[in-house]
């Protein structure tokens, strides 16, 4: 497995950038590693087939992964063992992402998708309140089920339980809902505010959810009662008229002993200035353990996190147009041990099951701009989200 000690650390290498003609909100590798799916700022899911031109190097040892366990992006336990004795990587990209037909049928934006941990099913949530399940293989798979009114409007976050039995959703309608993976509503809870994030604890019977004001609740959904609360109010600010929502993600680590809360500590609304922030709480006591800030006001949000079995987190940030970072962080350290700033506005990160590669959805350069910027053909161009595929050296 990669030795990421300071003395021997070799930075990840970008293998290739794969263009996409739309902006993307989230991307995830399938547990089998053969597909990449991404939710677009339109009602589609973009898909790629992951084509290996060479066999990947061996996966990290499972024992080394024991100290971090992120459920929303935790393919490692289901990952197939790569072949031993792989050849060194050639200069040309050893992996290609081959576009597949889009999955349609959603509205607004697709900001959330999760793969079932064992079955070949993808769950998708849109900003108009639709939740659906669909096979992700094949050219034009038909949905297994869909609920067009799973929420009244924007579904903020979607999570799947580790055992694959339940889904959790939360939305702008203030509701947190638990579903079976067959689409049947199990229970629901109404929060006092817009709910921005939800995730399952590793044992699968508790969820954590967080609202606009930074109230994080550990909730027993079988008993329908709160277990513990965590104060993440640093992620909220009333700026003039605007309730600035900085909270974006929740993730359990350390086998469920710690809870990560990520997003932006807002300094002001409108332009939205604020520093990317990550808090780590002790789940047993509710007390904060760590408190990171990754930059200054222009740097914005921690928008996504992936846990590498090597014992570190891969974080991405997005701030004012052009500002984006990919960072490697060990939970016990104050600073990231690797920071990559060459990408613009990184919106999501997903780790391939082989733990050797990860993909980041970022933005085209110069995405901002007042005034009339037209193409040579006189068209008004939209921005796009290229997918950057990285390899972590052995």
């Amino acid at each position: 497995m990669p030795d990421q000690s300071a003395a021997t650390f070799v930075p990840p290498k970008e293998l290739k950038m794969f263009p996409c003609d739309r902006q993307l909100a989230i991307a995830r590798f399938s547990p089998c590693g053969n597909f990449l799916a991404a939710g677009a700022l339109e009602g589609t899911v973009r898909r790629w087939s992951v084509v290996e031109k060479r066999k990947p190097a061996p996966a990290p040892a499972a024992a080394a992964a024991a100290d971090i366990d992120l459920l929303d992006d935790a393919p490692k336990k289901a990952a197939p063992k790569p072949a031993k004795g792989a050849k060194p990587p050639p200069e040309e990209s050893p992996v290609e992402l081959v576009p597949l037909p889009h999955l349609t049928g959603c509205n607004g934006w697709v900001q959330n998708l999760v793969f079932h941990p064992k079955e070949k099913v993808l769950y998708v949530a849109d900003t108009w309140g639709k939740l659906l399940a669909t096979p992700y293989e094949g050219d034009m798979p038909k949905p297994l089920w869909e609920n067009a009114a799973a929420h009244d409007g924007w579904i903020r976050r979607l999570a799947v339980s580790p055992d694959g039995q339940h889904l959790a959703t939360c939305g702008r309608d203030q509701f947190v809902r638990i579903w079976t993976t067959a689409g049947k509503l199990v229970t629901e809870h109404r929060a006092p505010e817009d709910v921005f994030a939800v995730t399952f604890a590793p044992e699968g019977k508790l969820i954590a959810f967080a609202d606009l004001k930074g109230r994080v609740t550990l909730w027993d959904f079988a008993a329908k009662k709160p277990v513990r609360e965590f104060d993440a109010s640093v992620f909220h600010k009333l700026s003039r008229l605007q309730d600035v929502a900085g909270l974006r993600l929740l993730a359990f680590t350390d086998g469920g002993k710690s809870l990560l809360v990520g997003g932006c500590e807002p300094a002001g609304g409108g332009f939205l200035e604020g520093a990317p922030a990550l808090l780590r709480f002790d789940v047993a006591t509710g007390k904060p353990q760590s408190d990171w800030r990754f930059g200054v006001a222009k740097d914005g949000f921690v928008l996504d996190v992936a846990a590498h079995p090597g014992g570190y987190l891969i974080l991405v940030t997005s701030g004012q147009p052009g500002n984006g970072k990919v960072m490697f962080l060990r939970p016990g350290e104050k600073e990231p041990f690797f920071t990559h700033t060459a990408l613009a506005n990184c919106h999501s990160v997903t780790l391939h099951p082989d733990a050797r590669r990860f993909a980041v959805t970022a933005m085209n350069k110069a995405s901002n701009g007042n005034g009339r910027q037209l193409t040579k053909d006189g068209e008004y161009p939209g921005n796009t989200s290229p997918v950057h595929l990285f390899e972590i050296p052995t």
């Binding site: 902006q23 607004g108 900003t127 409007g153 924007w154 702008r172 003039r240 008229l241 600035v244 939209g382």
Partner: protein, 426 residues
């Protein structure tokens, strides 16, 4: 800075104003609202204006001109309004219920994409350059229509932040036509007579003030001293009606209906001012420059505006005041269809919307359109000059015939080459 006055004159003016405020009259017996009889009298002939300014630029796509399920349409749904076939963003459920009273222009196409110049350019109507600073619309109305019979200040500005007398709005009209600003919705400090001061003592102070004023005026140009007296006299009328800006005594239901937010409470004060007879009330809301996280920002901002705006439109309609009140809600520009890397929208004067209601306008009208993606207007669109002509005509002022007289220099009220938007006028 207004060219007619110097900084030290502002200092004196402010001291004079505050001194006068300290000697204000006791609360009048009229209360915050005019009586039904008085309101009826006002209704017969007095036209008024409510001007809501959303500073920074509200997104047309998240408000009046949504384009759902398009490349730049954003995450939100649309909702039906009371006008068949017209939809607003789902963030505006209350305004949707008032759509039959509104007049929406969806094809504004203006020239300035910068805040620093755009705010003034829009509020002055962007006329042809004749080497003078044109007045903001509020100052223009204060000049052209003056105070109502209520004798209250003709141009009042309810805004977050600081208050005072803002002469820069008036342009070449002179400081007399500036705005009296109520910072954070509150009257200027020391406006009300201190409890420790008796009425007799107050009268004595006023006599002293008058004497000092006359001495001061003898050494100044009339334009400025007239402005000082004018502001003082009109402000005194407002002082008599302290209940207008005291929301603490308003019913909880009213406060809730407008929203217990900055804009909600300011809009409620604006309603009271209009009911009391203020000619022109401007309400500002700041923080709409959503270059970052535009959609969560609008999810927070728009419903607060929507609630307050719909409530005041409904109240004015119910009281009958909407028939004589021109209501305007706008920004300096719209926001880009393109979504930037910070998930924000930038400045977009090319194709945006304005909402209006009330006197002289066609209720329930939707004027103009943008293309399917919302990127550009479908036809030539309307610049702000045409909008100014429309406003003047809605108020009964023929903007093609009436002119300003700037020291014998005739100046048109609005851009010479533009005309009212006929489809918007009743």
């Amino acid at each position: 800075m207004n060219p007619l006055c110097k900084p030290w004159e502002h200092t004196t003016s402010r001291r004079q104003f505050l001194g006068a405020s300290a000697g204000a009259l006791a609360f009048g017996a009229l209360g915050g609202l005019v009586s039904p009889q008085a309101a009826e009298a006002l209704r017969k002939k007095e036209k008024q204006v409510l001007f809501v300014w959303l500073d920074g630029g509200m997104s047309q796509l998240e408000s009046w001109d949504p384009k759902p399920n398009t490349e730049f349409g954003g995450p939100f749904r649309t909702i039906k309004t009371t006008v068949p076939g017209t939809h607003f963003s789902e963030l505006m459920p209350q305004s949707a219920k008032q759509a039959h009273r509104l007049c929406i222009v969806r094809n504004l196409c203006t020239k300035d994409n910068a805040h620093s110049s755009g705010v003034a350019r829009i509020q002055r109507g962007d006329p042809k350059n004749r080497g003078v600073a044109y007045p903001y619309f509020g100052s223009a109305i204060a000049k052209l229509m003056g105070p109502t019979a209520s004798k209250l200040p003709p141009y009042v500005w309810v805004k977050p932040g600081s208050g005072g007398f803002k002469t820069e709005d008036a342009g070449f009209l002179g400081p007399k036509y500036g705005s009296l600003a109520f910072g954070d919705g509150k009257p200027p400090e020391d406006l009300l007579r201190p409890a420790a001061l008796t009425a007799d003592e107050d009268d004595e102070r006023n006599e002293l003030r008058e004497m000092l004023n006359q001495r001061y005026a003898a050494q100044r140009r009339p334009a400025f001293t007239e402005a000082s007296s004018y502001v003082f006299d009109t402000a005194r009328e407002l002082m008599k009606r302290a209940e207008i800006f005291d929301t603490s005594k308003m019913a909880a239901k009213e406060l809730d209906r407008y929203g217990r937010t900055e804009i909600g409470q300011h809009m409620l004060i604006a309603r009271n001012m209009l009911e009391a007879g203020v000619r022109f009330v401007k309400v500002n809301s700041y923080g709409w420059d959503t270059h970052g996280d535009n959609f969560n920002a609008h999810a927070s901002l728009v419903p607060k505006f929507d609630r307050a705006f719909a409530a005041i439109v409904e109240d004015l309609a119910v009281s009958g005041l909407l028939e004589q009140t021109l209501v305007i809600a706008m920004s300096e520009f719209g926001r880009t269809p393109r979504i930037n890397g910070h998930v924000g929208r930038d400045h977009w004067p090319e194709a945006w919307s304005i909402a209006m209601a009330g006197c002289g306008l066609k209720a329930g009208a939707v004027v103009g359109a943008t293309n399917d993606k919302g990127t550009f207007v479908k036809d030539a669109g309307h610049d702000i000059g045409a909008v100014f002509h429309t406003w003047f005509n809605a108020l009964g002022i023929d903007s093609k015939k009436v002119e300003y007289n700037n020291n014998s220099q005739p100046l048109p009220l609005a851009h010479d080459d533009m005309a009212p938007i006929k489809e918007a006028l009743a």
